[in-house]
């Protein structure tokens, strides 16, 4: 189809689609007047039942914990997918490595990063990690948790790359490290599920002591799951960024070398 006929066909369809959607939305309760029975019930019982003050965390990691396990594995599968898709180029990367080593190219260690950027980046790593850990650890009490905290932690890993410590990091093989984080994160979540089975309860039952509401050490398995998720998310995002970055850096280096 030509560009215009495709667009016109789309507009034709969108006319019907739009009318349908708007008609459907009219059937919703007015904005701000929602009284859903699920949410109302949880609002009444959740704090007492889970000892988590953040209801969203209670829903995500306890009541609907099995869903979140599925979501964890979506992330897991997507990250493995990125690794597969960029895999072919890893062979090229290996070739580039050999070439570089043969020529003993000094520029490899710090490609195109000025000292000012490096100092600033290095200085930011510590606070970023701390902030990430804080967000993760307080997920059951205040907004945050393993998902957002994990991304923040991955940002710290990115800072390491950007400041040029990338090649140093490569020596400890970030791929296998982040892959390990992936499986520990996803597997750890599932392990918490088996904890319930071992205690003779249902899968993913919150069998640990719930502690005092409002304390950091409370809400039982919610805290544990939060940690597992943060490992998974941080590992996943680092791996993705590394896969993309590796190529960019190496190709750039090859050109210079």
């Amino acid at each position: 189809m030509s560009f215009n006929s495709r667009r016109n066909l789309f507009f034709l369809g969108m006319l019907g689609f739009g009318v349908l959607y708007l008609w459907g939305l009219k059937g919703l309760p007015d904005f701000g007047r929602y009284e859903g029975v699920y949410g109302i019930t949880l609002n009444k019982v959740a704090v007492a039942q889970t000892h988590a003050t953040n209801l969203v965390a209670a829903v995500t990691f306890d009541y609907r914990g099995f869903d979140t396990l599925g979501e964890e594995f979506i992330l897991f599968a997507a990250v493995v997918g990125v690794a597969i898709l960029l895999r072919a180029q890893r062979d090229e990367a290996a070739t580039a490595d050999e070439e570089a080593e043969e020529s003993k190219d000094e520029s490899r260690s710090a490609p195109h990063t000025s000292d000012a950027v490096r100092v600033l980046g290095l200085a930011l790593i510590g606070p970023t990690v701390l902030f990430g850990l804080y967000v993760v650890a307080h997920g059951h009490l205040t907004p945050g948790g393993g998902f957002s905290g994990g991304v923040v932690l991955a940002t710290a890993a990115l800072l390491v790359y950007l400041t040029g410590e990338y090649v140093a990091l490569r020596r400890v093989s970030p791929e296998s490290l982040t892959e390990l984080a992936e499986s520990v994160g996803a597997g750890g979540y599932a392990a918490v599920g088996f904890l319930g089975l071992l205690a003779g309860q249902a899968f993913l039952t919150n069998v640990l002591p719930l502690g005092t509401t409002g304390q950091l050490n409370s809400s039982g398995t919610i805290l544990l799951i939060n940690l597992a998720v943060s490992v998974e998310v941080a590992g996943g995002f680092s791996l993705i960024l590394a896969e993309f970055l590796e190529q960019t850096l190496l190709v750039r280096e090859r050109k210079h070398g």
């Binding site: 189809m1 495709r6 066909l9 789309f10 034709l12 369809g13 006319l15 019907g16 689609f17 009318v19 349908l20 959607y21 008609w23 459907g24 939305l25 009219k26 059937g27 919703l28 309760p29 929602y34 859903g36 029975v37 699920y38 109302i40 019930t41 949880l42 009541y63 609907r64 914990g65 099995f66 869903d67 396990l69 599925g70 594995f73 979506i74 897991f76 599968a77 997507a78 493995v80 997918g81 597969i84 898709l85 895999r87 072919a88 296998s176 892959e179 390990l180 992936e182 499986s183 996803a186 597997g187 599932a190 599920g193 088996f194 309860q201 249902a202 899968f203 993913l204 039952t205 919150n206």
Partner: protein, 608 residues
């Protein structure tokens, strides 16, 4: 027993996580053996659950959150026979694919196995869950694993483009489903399927109900590849790795249809049930269009995997007809049909994989006669073609006959003829390709075929041309065919399935089971109906397919006047339909939008 329910989903997922952590220094066989063992044990778990559920359906509440006063707080898995039959099929196909790929990919590494296991866990979760949002989560999980598997052959341009089209269209489908879920949640304040069903029942049909239903149906139509949401399928199947194609053709598409049945029977039956007659017409119509279009598109294909892709589209259309009749008998027939047919199509894909392994190509014309050296694969391929046509005792004839009879009873007498014609039309090109490739029938390769489209772009999946076929490859292909054949020999198979189908279609019994823990009454087996007529039809269809294949091979020998009139009458329409399959993702999305609008218009006009 009950504890096997969460394990059926958790085991493959945990196995995937463990496999990823396994050191890369493991030998390839280690990954293979571990993955096969994991998938095999999941198959055992599912079969045990299946056997148990036919005696007594079960539910499993995660985290111990039982429903209080009809309000579900947590998430639930529901073990009932139909869902478990599909889960068992999924586990069987994954195990078979992993066994098959034992010698198949000359690659190292574990990522392929990891994704296959995630895919398996997602399919089982999708079948068993009783929660609306979990259904979406496992839909997404399945899709994401599938995108990566479809693009596995990164050195091939077609594989990447196919995967990209697939990913974009399926993601839009998923967002449609999520929007539908949001609308339903806004109305009912519930996410548990049974609870939503009770909340919606008896309410008047309004815009929200229709829109939510259309969005959900359309989203699952994308997955099932119903026209005009089907464009991604041939692109993806043509280039995806063969073991993955087996899963796509055998189970992935039909799970989209399964989700539609779930959605309708647990949630919307109470509100849309009064308009069932109109809904039935729409569904049967959509199925018929899909079946015909897919069958016609099979003919010009010379790329065998793409041909099998279009035959999948066509057969999905027939399953949709069975499903859209909204009756227990037709539903039982549909389940039999889609399971046995999926096995046959899976086996055909495996044979195509052997071709790729031995001849480095799956181009019908390019391989003309080259398959003479592998006659056994050729026999399997031809048997598969006859299975597609519904030759007894392949189970396919049972399902088709049952759907046809029930359709006639419900006022669609033409459905039987349509289904026979469509299975002949999809089987004949397969037989034609088989006869040409494995025995060199028909004019030579230099003969000017009407199709100039994609020929041998496909790269082989193993590194060098092989002199022999590893036994595991054809054994798996034969096993899939064999199971389909045995299914047709089980006496009264459909009769045994009818009570399970009735349970599936009983919204009240489902809600009692999930929300109140009431085990449904065991339904008596209905009297067995002789399927003699269906068997005779099956034989006739197979013969017709052979004749049609012969015409396909030697149509140059037909009198010129007949050829000209065929070209004149069908040529332009054919060319037009083919041109729509442009490989352009923008086109596909435009068609998707139109499809939603048309579905919405039809439902609004008849139900609103």
């Amino acid at each position: 027993m009950r504890v096997l329910l969460p394990l059926s989903v958790a085991v493959p997922l945990v196995a995937a996580a463990l496999l990823l952590a396994a050191p890369q220094s493991w030998v390839r066989r280690g990954f293979d053996a571990f993955a096969v063992a994991a998938a095999g044990s999941v198959m055992v778990i599912c079969s045990v659950l299946l056997a148990g559920s036919t005696r007594e359906p079960m539910v499993y509440w995660f985290g111990g959150w039982l429903p209080e006063g009809g309000v579900a707080l947590g998430l639930v898995l529901v073990a009932e026979p139909i869902a478990l039959a599909l889960a068992t099929l999924a586990a069987f196909l994954v195990t078979a694919s992993l066994v098959y790929s034992w010698h198949f990919f000359d690659t190292t590494g574990n990522l392929f196995h990891v994704l296959m296991l995630v895919f398996l866990g997602a399919m089982i979760g999708f079948c068993l869950t009783g929660d609306f949002f979990s259904l979406f989560v496992f839909f997404e999980l399945m899709s994401v694993a599938a995108f990566s598997l479809a693009g596995y052959k990164v050195e091939e341009e077609g594989s990447l483009q196919g995967a990209l089209n697939f990913a974009v269209i399926n993601s839009i489908g998923a967002f449609l489903v999520l929007s539908g879920i949001a609308l339903v949640y806004g109305r009912t304040g519930a996410l548990n399927l049974a609870q939503i069903g009770e909340s919606l029942a008896g309410a008047p049909v309004d815009g929200l109900v229709i829109t939510a239903f259309v969005f959900l149906i359309a989203g699952y139509f994308v997955k099932a590849a119903v026209v005009p949401f089907h464009f991604w399928l041939p692109d993806t199947y043509a280039a995806a790795p063969t073991p993955v194609c087996v899963l796509f053709a055998g189970i992935f598409n039909v799970l989209g249809l399964y989700a539609i049945a779930r959605t309708y029977w647990t949630m919307f039956d109470g509100v849309l049930g009064a308009e069932l007659v109109n809904l039935r017409t729409i569904m049967v119509g959509a199925g018929a269009v899909t079946a015909i279009l897919g069958a016609l598109m099979c003919w010009p294909q010379r790329h065998i995997k793409r041909l099998l892709g279009f035959s999948t589209v066509s057969h999905v259309g027939m399953f949709l007809i069975g499903l859209g009749l909204f009756s227990p008998v037709a539903f039982a027939g549909t389940i039999v049909y889609l399971m046995t047919d999926g096995l046959v199509r899976g086996s055909l894909f495996l044979c195509a994989g052997i071709l790729l392994h031995r001849l480095r190509s799956v181009d019908e014309l390019g391989c003309d006669g080259l398959g003479r050296s592998i006659p056994f694969t050729g026999i399997l391929f031809l048997l598969g073609g006859l299975g597609l046509a519904g030759l007894p005792p392949f189970g396919t004839f049972v399902g088709r006959a049952l759907i046809g009879e029930e359709a006639a009873r419900l006022g669609f007498p033409w459905v039987t003829y349509l289904m026979v014609a469509v299975s002949v039309l999809t089987a004949a090109p397969v037989l034609r390709a088989g006869a040409r490739v494995f025995w060199g029938f028909g004019p030579g390769a230099d003969y000017n075929h009407r199709s100039e489209a994609e020929g041998d772009e496909e790269e082989p999946e193993t590194t060098e041309a092989h002199e022999t076929t590893p036994p595991l490859m054809w054994v798996t292909a034969a096993a899939l065919l064999g199971v389909s054949l045995v299914a047709g020999l089980v006496p009264d198979l459909p009769v045994r399935l009818v009570p399970a189908a009735e349970l599936f279609l009983d919204r009240g019994a489902y809600a009692d089971l999930v929300l109140r823990g009431v085990t449904p009454h065991k339904l008596p087996l209905p009297p067995g109906a002789p399927l003699l007529e269906g068997a005779v039809t099956g034989v006739i269809a197979a013969l017709a397919a052979v004749v049609a294949a012969a015409i396909g091979l030697w149509h140059a020998k037909l009198p010129a006047s007949i050829r000209d009139s065929i070209t004149r009458s069908l040529g332009p329409a054919f060319g037009g339909v083919r041109a729509l399959h442009s490989g352009h993702v923008g086109d596909y999305v435009a068609w998707l939008t139109v499809g939603v609008a048309v579905l919405g218009g039809l439902l609004a006009a008849t139900l609103g």
